[in-house]
Each structure stands twice: as structure tokens, then as C-alpha cells.
């Protein structure tokens, strides 16, 4: 009898413990996001980066674009223009439309860089259309960048964590880098009169945020992550069997921008 009494006592204790810890944990869960909301900071999207003030991060960032998922909505282009106030007619990122007819001829267009989306089909194609798809383009962040090599004043450079950036104070706007880039990712900014291009949102990444185009993509066609993190999606995509390719591999630039399901027609 005494044993049973003891058991009941134990059970009660365990029950009270469980209820108490449950309540505390539950209330904490409700409090923590509310607390984060108060200081107005955006929740961290890349773990362990915010607050790191060393000049270079230890991460090895890669960007993957899934061509098979892209719906050509142009969210990325809109977000990019919003983030940087890119002057009209210049594009840091853009979405190309490829149309292949049944004679295997390829037609590429990109009205306003995909900023207004694709609302009209192409009417100038003589034969029935076999296939169409969208290809988002941005800076390839080459491991051997030709733009850095040609800069006469050291205004464009590759950081140790793999970003190629343009120093706006140093750039003289000669345009060598614009010609050297095999991917046409650069343009001459008409406002600052310096070379400009996609930075993979360096300022956001350093704050632990995803690049803005990755953040807004509704179909998750743009993926950004750290190759050193073995649990990240990009690590799994790049290290496990997938059809992954880069643009113009023959140029030898070794881009860190990879494409998933890229077609041979794409240049």
C-alpha cells in the first residue's frame, strides 16, 4: 500500500513538473518573438553572421538558380530595383525568356529586364513553339574574375569571402570591367558615373539576411547559402547528384553562381 502511495506521490510531482515546465516553455515561446519584434530588427536568416565585425566572413557562399522552377514573375527584379534605386534602363539582375521553336531555333528576349514581368507571348516566331523557359541572371561572383584583373585603379576587388565589389569612391568609370565581364553583369551607373553591378546584397548578407531577390522569390527558384554548412540546401544540391552547371564554363572564370536544370541553349 505504501508503495502505491509513493507512486501516486511521484506521479503528482511529475505531473506538476510537466505542467509547470510546459507553461513556462509556452509562455517563453510567446514572449521571445514579441521581444524581437520590439527592437524592429529583421530575424536573422543566415545563422551566425550578424554581429561578426571581422573584415571577412568564414562562410563560403554560393548562389543557385533553379531554372526549372522560375515562373518569370519578376519579383526579384522589382525587389532589386527597390533595394538599390537602380536607375531606369540598368539592371543588376534580370530575367531572360527563352523560346525554342520546333525547328530548334532559339529566341531570347528580356523586355525591361523582366521588371514589368512577362505579360505578352512572342508573336514573331515563325514555327510552333516547342518549349519556353525563364533564366534569371545576376553577377556570377567568379573565383577568377576578369573584371578585377582589368581594373586600372583597384576599384573592383574580390574579398576573401568571395564577393566581388566595386569601390564607388575609387572607380573612375573607364568601363574596362564592363567589357571584360563575360556575363554582361556590369553597367555604368548614370547617377554615380561609376561601374555598378549585383553584389549578392553584401550589406544584407553581413547583417545575416538573405539577398533581397532570394528573399522575395515566391517559388524558391533562387537559393543562397553557405557551403561550409553541411546541412544547408546549397551544400546538398552541390555535393549530391544533381544536374548543376555554370554559365560559359569555357571562359574559365569559375563562377560561384550555379544553375539547376540549365539547358544547353542558354548562353
Amino acid at each position: 500500500m505504501i508503495d502505491i502511495e509513493k507512486e501516486i506521490q511521484k506521479d503528482r510531482r511529475a505531473f506538476i513538473k510537466n505542467v509547470l515546465s510546459g507553461t513556462i516553455a509556452g509562455s517563453l515561446l510567446m514572449v521571445i518573438p514579441a521581444g524581437a519584434a520590439l527592437d524592429g530588427a529583421i530575424p536573422e536568416q543566415i545563422p551566425g553572421v550578424r554581429g561578426d565585425h571581422s573584415p571577412f566572413l568564414k562562410n563560403q557562399f554560393v548562389f543557385i538558380v533553379d531554372v526549372t522552377a522560375c515562373i518569370g514573375c519578376g519579383s526579384c527584379c522589382v525587389a532589386d530595383k527597390n533595394e538599390y534605386n537602380v536607375p531606369d534602363g540598368n539592371y543588376r539582375t534580370w530575367v531572360e525568356r527563352y523560346v525554342i521553336d520546333d525547328h530548334d531555333e532559339v529566341f531570347v528576349d528580356c523586355p525591361n529586364g523582366g521588371l514589368d514581368g512577362y505579360t505578352k507571348p512572342r508573336t514573331d516566331i515563325p514555327y510552333p513553339v516547342r518549349d519556353t523557359f525563364f533564366v534569371p541572371k545576376l553577377c556570377n561572383m567568379c573565383q577568377k574574375p576578369s573584371c578585377v584583373q582589368v581594373c586600372p585603379v583597384g576599384a573592383t576587388y574580390r574579398t576573401e569571402d568571395g564577393f566581388i565589389l566595386v569601390d564607388k569612391k575609387r572607380c573612375v568609370g573607364c568601363g574596362y570591367c564592363i567589357q571584360a565581364c563575360p556575363y554582361s553583369a556590369r553597367y555604368l551607373n548614370p547617377v554615380t558615373k561609376t561601374a555598378d553591378k549585383c553584389t549578392w546584397c553584401y550589406h544584407r548578407v553581413r547583417e545575416g539576411l538573405l539577398p533581397t531577390c532570394v528573399n522575395v522569390c515566391p517559388v524558391h527558384a533562387r537559393k543562397f547559402g553557405d557551403l561550409n554548412d553541411k546541412n544547408s540546401e546549397v551544400y546538398k544540391l552541390l555535393r549530391e547528384p544533381h544536374v548543376i552547371s555554370v554559365l560559359k564554363p569555357g571562359m574559365g572564370n569559375q563562377p560561384a553562381l550555379h544553375y539547376l536544370g540549365l539547358r544547353r541553349e542558354v548562353v
Binding site: 522552377a69 514581368g117 519556353t132 565589389l165 575609387r170 515566391p218
Partner: protein
């Protein structure tokens, strides 16, 4: 007597050497004066530019930032199939609305046929490049005819823009009907 041909005067050599030294000193001093201090700190570039690059303003936030204040729409938006669509895509960047935690200006809310344009930017079947697993597409006048509504109807008359199937699901529930998609599953 070949030695006599050699000049005993070295002033021209001294002049040239002096000119070289002066030019060299000027070049070194000028270079130091003209180059930024942090040039070459990490490589052949201005090291302090890294700091400048980090200080670029973050203008676009995430949906969560919007939902902090816009609570009612949060419940609707996050429950529907449009949960992956960015608020800022239709309404504009966060920084134009809130600056340093303070309200600055009203962001546009799309009205009338602007909404239809915005919907068809993604859901237009006539652009054939859209993978069906990613998005549901409709051909425009045909969809209205199929659904037996007037052809001048706007999308948001049947579809709640933040959760396109919200009203349709509710209506179907009231009528005791099943969704088209549900049958397949």
C-alpha cells in the same frame, strides 16, 4: 693619347642623376599623398571600402517585418497559398514606409484593373514557360467564361488577393461542395 678625349666635366651626369632623384622623390611623396590610407590593407583595393559596402541601407525587409504591425492580414496571408509572395512586391519597399522605426509615408495599395495586371503577371497561361508544379495558371477570358461570371470581372471579386482560395473555400463549404483540386488528392 686617347685619354685626352674623355671629358673632365661631370656636371651633365650630376644633373641627370639629380633630376631622377627629384622625380623619384616626388613620385613617392605624390603617391603616398594621392593613395587612400587603407589602400593595400587586404589586397589591391581600399580596405575601408568594406566598411562602406556594409553600411549600404537595407531597404527591403521580410514579410515578418510587415506582419509586426499589420496583424490581421498576417493571419490571412500566412495561411494561404500566397504565403511565399513578398508584401513588398505589390506594396513597395519597407524603407519607403517606415524609417528608424517611424512611419514616413503610405505605401500604395493596388486598386481596380491594376490588380488584374498584377495577378496576370504570374498567373497568365498564355506565357507558356510556367511550370505547373510551381504555380496555377489561367487563360484569361476563358477562365471567367468557365466560371460563369461576367468577362469584365476583376480577379479580386472572387479571389481574396492575400489568400486567393479563402472566399472560394468558404463558399464551397457553405454549399457543401468539394474543391476541384481536392478530388485529385
Amino acid at each position: 693619347m686617347e685619354k685626352e678625349y674623355k671629358s673632365k666635366y661631370y656636371s651633365h651626369v650630376v644633373k641627370i642623376v639629380l633630376i631622377f632623384i627629384v622625380v623619384g622623390v616626388l613620385a613617392v611623396v605624390g603617391r603616398n599623398y594621392l593613395l587612400p590610407d587603407t589602400m593595400g590593407q587586404y589586397g589591391h583595393y581600399r580596405g575601408s571600402d568594406l566598411e562602406d559596402q556594409r553600411n549600404v541601407e537595407v531597404r527591403s525587409h521580410t514579410n515578418e517585418s510587415c506582419f509586426e504591425c499589420h496583424r490581421p492580414i498576417r493571419l490571412i496571408h500566412k495561411a494561404g497559398v500566397h504565403k511565399t509572395v513578398s508584401c513588398e512586391f505589390c506594396h513597395g519597399p519597407y524603407a519607403d514606409h517606415v524609417k528608424d522605426g517611424k512611419y514616413v509615408a503610405k505605401l500604395p495599395v493596388k486598386k481596380g484593373m491594376e490588380i488584374k495586371e498584377l495577378c496576370l503577371r504570374c498567373h497568365n497561361k498564355i506565357i507558356r514557360a510556367r511550370p505547373e508544379e510551381s504555380i496555377k495558371v489561367v487563360a484569361m477570358p476563358q477562365h471567367l467564361e468557365e466560371m460563369k461570371v461576367q468577362v469584365d470581372h476583376n480577379c479580386n471579386q472572387c479571389h481574396m488577393v492575400h489568400d486567393p482560395l479563402l472566399w472560394i473555400k468558404a463558399a464551397n463549404e457553405m454549399m457543401g461542395m468539394e474543391m476541384k483540386g481536392d478530388k485529385k488528392n
